[in-house]
């Protein structure tokens, strides 16, 4: 070998080693993701809220200011650093320079402010405005500085921006202004993938963003997103090799167990915070009597329900936080599971106990409903199942047109947002129609206290009140699942239930 050639080889070797951990990941390839639902679009003004399928897509095309590391703590993404005022009401973010949207326009503070103003503007009637109700305004004093002004203090504000949802994802202002109504199906972000084509109801093809700010990423050349609504055929498509990773949940327990036994497949699971919950309308008799409510909660045998519906995969919940949360309670005030006592309470109430409960018109909803119906029948309460389609849930909830309704507290790095929204007097989603000044005080206090231990105390006290008054009850903690081919690597924890394949690679 000539001296020049030897140098070349050495240089190449050095470069290879210098690339470091990137050597383990393979570049290239196409990953096909099986989603549960079709995505109506990405414009917050049009769709209001992103569901999990939209979140998964958004995590690839769009980005947020802050990301989550392996431990669920905030790490820089589009923002490099942040700081807050002493009262935690003003937060300043320093943005990453030299980032461009897919259409070439620059990502800067003005873009962040523009996105926020658009969502907040009352003229736009955005359903997404509810989730930023606590944000009063956003300033952009220079290109790389964004200042958020909050109404109520938020000690953990940065992690609230980590979810790839309708509020935190940053869209290109130029693109929205140029495309108008068409923007919904043609999102432009700063993310590692660009939308190449989108056939409604069939598939979305995303291609690698060659000018992505994070050099060396993404590893994949292409990601294909396919909505496969039927759970059995979704799993079949994975086994047949048509998809590489699919969304799943514990109700598909048979398939999950099958996948665990299959060496060519892997099951990704994440025990998140939050839980599957149910809200009781405390203004409607007979549910206005605390004895009836307590009886309903005590009649539940969560282990048996889990066995019946999910082959035991579902983990019982006794408080709204769950094992996946940093809030750990020694005493969360959970009522004991005691059908005999429940029956006694119903008898003590004296009058017949009869009410309706809302369920989605799906096999899962029906199974859920019939199990609860049976358990309550055993203690003398008569529940009638009311089946409605998923779209009817939110309006019925907001208008309080229900006796008992199912809801969910999703996995989120901080319990404040959802707990405040769900239980503070006056909130649109305080579904139980219940007002308790002590509860309000605790919620307000938890918001402003920076000390995690003190906040934990507050949240545990909150849980005790809710459990004792039985205004909401929790069935199972959130366990998020994805089933994938063994060759799929680099998928982080399923925070918030989102399957984030932006850094994934194929072995």
């Amino acid at each position: 070998m000539t001296k020049g050639a030897r140098l070349l080889v050495l240089a190449a070797a050095a470069a290879m080693f210098a690339a470091g951990p990137a050597m383990a990941q393979k570049q290239g390839g196409t990953l096909t993701v099986g989603l549960e639902l079709d995505i109506p679009g990405f414009d917050p003004l049009k769709v209001g809220v992103y569901d999990t399928s939209a979140n998964i897509a958004a995590s690839l095309i769009l980005e947020t200011l802050v990301g989550l590391d392996e431990n669920g703590k905030a790490k820089p993404k589009l923002a490099l650093s942040w700081s807050s005022s002493d009262d935690f009401r003003t937060w300043t973010f320093k943005l990453r320079p030299d980032v461009k949207f897919h259409d070439g326009t620059p990502f800067n503070a003005e873009a962040v402010k523009w996105n926020f103003d658009r969502q907040k503007d009352p003229k736009n009637n955005c359903r997404c405005a509810f989730y930023i109700a606590n944000l009063l305004s956003v300033d952009a004093p220079d290109d790389l500085t964004v200042i958020y002004h909050l109404k109520d203090p938020a000690v953990n504000f940065p992690v609230l921006l980590t979810r790839p949802d309708q509020n935190s994802s940053i869209h290109s202002p130029a693109a929205i202004q140029a495309k108008g109504d068409d923007y919904n199906r043609n999102p432009i972000g700063t993310g590692p993938f660009i939308v190449k084509s989108w056939t409604a109801g069939d598939r979305m093809v995303l291609e690698r963003n060659p000018s992505y700010w994070n050099k060396g990423y993404p590893h994949l050349d292409r990601v294909v997103l396919r909505p496969l609504p039927d759970s059995q055929s979704r799993f079949a498509s994975l086994k047949a090799g048509e998809t590489d990773i699919v969304w799943a949940d514990e109700f598909e327990a048979d398939n999950i167990v099958r996948a665990q036994k299959d060496p060519t497949l892997q099951v990704l699971s994440y025990a998140g915070s939050g839980a599957a919950v149910n809200a009781i309308n405390t203004k409607v008799p007979p549910l206005d009597d605390v004895r009836v409510r307590q009886a309903l909660v005590m009649a539940l045998d969560r282990k048996k329900i889990s066995q019946a519906l999910t082959n035991g995969l579902a983990r019982p919940a006794t408080n709204p936080y769950g094992d996946g949360s940093w809030v750990k309670c020694k005493d969360d005030g959970a009522l004991p599971e005691d059908p005999a006592k429940a029956a006694a309470l119903i008898k003590e109430y004296g009058k017949p106990v009869s009410f309706k409960m809302l369920f989605t018109a799906t096999p899962r909803g029906r199974a859920n409903g019939q199990v609860l119906q049976q358990l309550w029948k055993n203690v003398g309460a008569n529940m009638e199942i009311e089946q409605v389609d998923q779209a009817t849930f939110p309006p019925r909830a907001f208008q309080r047109k229900f006796d008992i309704i199912g809801w969910r507290i999703v996995d989120f790095p901080d319990p404040d947002v959802q707990m405040y929204a769900n239980f503070h007097t006056g909130s649109p989603v305080a579904l139980a129609n219940y007002s308790n000044p002590e509860l309000d005080k605790l919620l307000e206090h938890a918001r402003v206290t920076p000390d995690e231990a003190k906040r934990t105390e507050d949240y545990c006290a909150i849980s005790r009140i809710i459990n004792q008054e039985a205004i909401w009850f929790w069935t199972f903690q959130n366990t998020y699942y994805a089933v994938a081919k063994a060759k799929v690597k680099g998928v982080p924890k399923l925070f918030g239930g989102v399957i984030n394949v932006s850094d994934a690679w194929l072995e």
Partner: protein, 290 residues
């Protein structure tokens, strides 16, 4: 070639009456099954069977045992009991709905085919409108306004089956209306009513009855599909169709959850068909078929 030997035809058709004893056996079996399932459905409340809704949470998808003669379903409920209670819903909806279609649709179709003109145009138009109308919207509207119940589902499916019966009746009537026997009756001065009832109806009845028996089978399954979409009989009331839907999730672990109700449905529908075949053979001199 054997298949095209029409000579063998006339001989092949008359076994309906010739091998009376052989068909008699099948007929008796069919009759027995219908009576059995019918009685079981009617007397379900007093029969010594377990409740169809009680769940044995830890014993789901259990194979047959002393406690559960046909095993349990995916929520631990007794299969035999659910099949019997399911017969109630499935038979009621399965029989009544097509009757609605048969009576209303058949009448409309015959009248349209016979009288023609404006009436026919209106009827055909009306039926077209009903057919082109998205059935799901109709089902949703009815269940939203009148609630979910076996009666309402019967109404929905019944009304949705009218167009098919109308079209079949009309098509057959059209071809018969110019036949010699009709023309002859008209020349003889018979009234429309007489012609319709005496001449046309017996001839239209045959294809309509064949269609009716098919409709029974289809209706039981359609009720299941509607239950699948949350529009059928409200849970926890079982029906064969909804049991098939629920059993679908467990096809490789416990295939009997879906195949038992399908089997019951198959035997019942076949039994109706055999009975219909035999009755027609006994009452109609002209060999036809159902």
């Amino acid at each position: 070639m054997a298949v095209l030997e029409l000579e063998g035809d006339t001989a092949a058709v008359s076994p309906v009456r010739q091998s009376g004893r052989r068909l008699g056996g099948l007929f008796v079996a069919a009759l027995l099954w219908i009576v059995l399932i019918g009685l079981a459905a009617i007397l379900a409340n007093v029969l010594p069977i377990v409740s169809p809704t009680d769940m044995d949470f830890l014993g789901k998808r259990a194979p047959p045992s002393a406690a559960h003669l046909l095993g349990t379903d995916q929520l631990g409920r007794d299969m035999l009991s659910r099949l019997i209670y399911g017969a109630r819903i499935s038979l009621t909806v399965g029989l009544l709905s097509p009757v609605i279609g048969l009576v209303i649709g058949g009448a409309l179709g015959m009248l349209a085919g016979y009288f023609g003109g404006r009436f026919e145009a209106l009827t055909v138009g009306g039926v077209d409108v009903l057919l082109a109308f998205p059935p799901l919207v109709f089902a949703l509207a009815v269940t939203a306004y009148l609630g979910q119940s076996a009666l309402n589902i019967t109404l929905v499916i019944g009304v949705l089956s009218i167009p098919a019966f109308t079209r079949v009746a009309r098509a057959v009537t059209l071809s018969l209306a110019q036949r010699e026997f009709v023309v002859a009756a008209q020349t003889l001065g018979a009234t429309h009513m007489r012609i319709l009832l005496r001449e046309l109806l017996p001839n239209v009845a045959l294809p309509l009855m064949a269609f009716f028996l098919l409709a029974v089978a289809v209706t039981i399954v359609v009720e299941g599909a509607l239950s699948f979409l949350g529009l059928g009989v409200p849970p926890p009331a079982p029906s064969w169709g909804s049991m098939i839907g629920e059993g679908r999730e467990s096809l490789d672990i416990a295939p009997w959850l879906a195949f038992l109700p399908a089997g019951f449905m198959f035997v019942t529908v076949l039994a109706f068909n055999v009975i219909g075949d035999t009755l027609r053979a006994l009452t109609d001199p002209r060999p036809g078929a159902l």
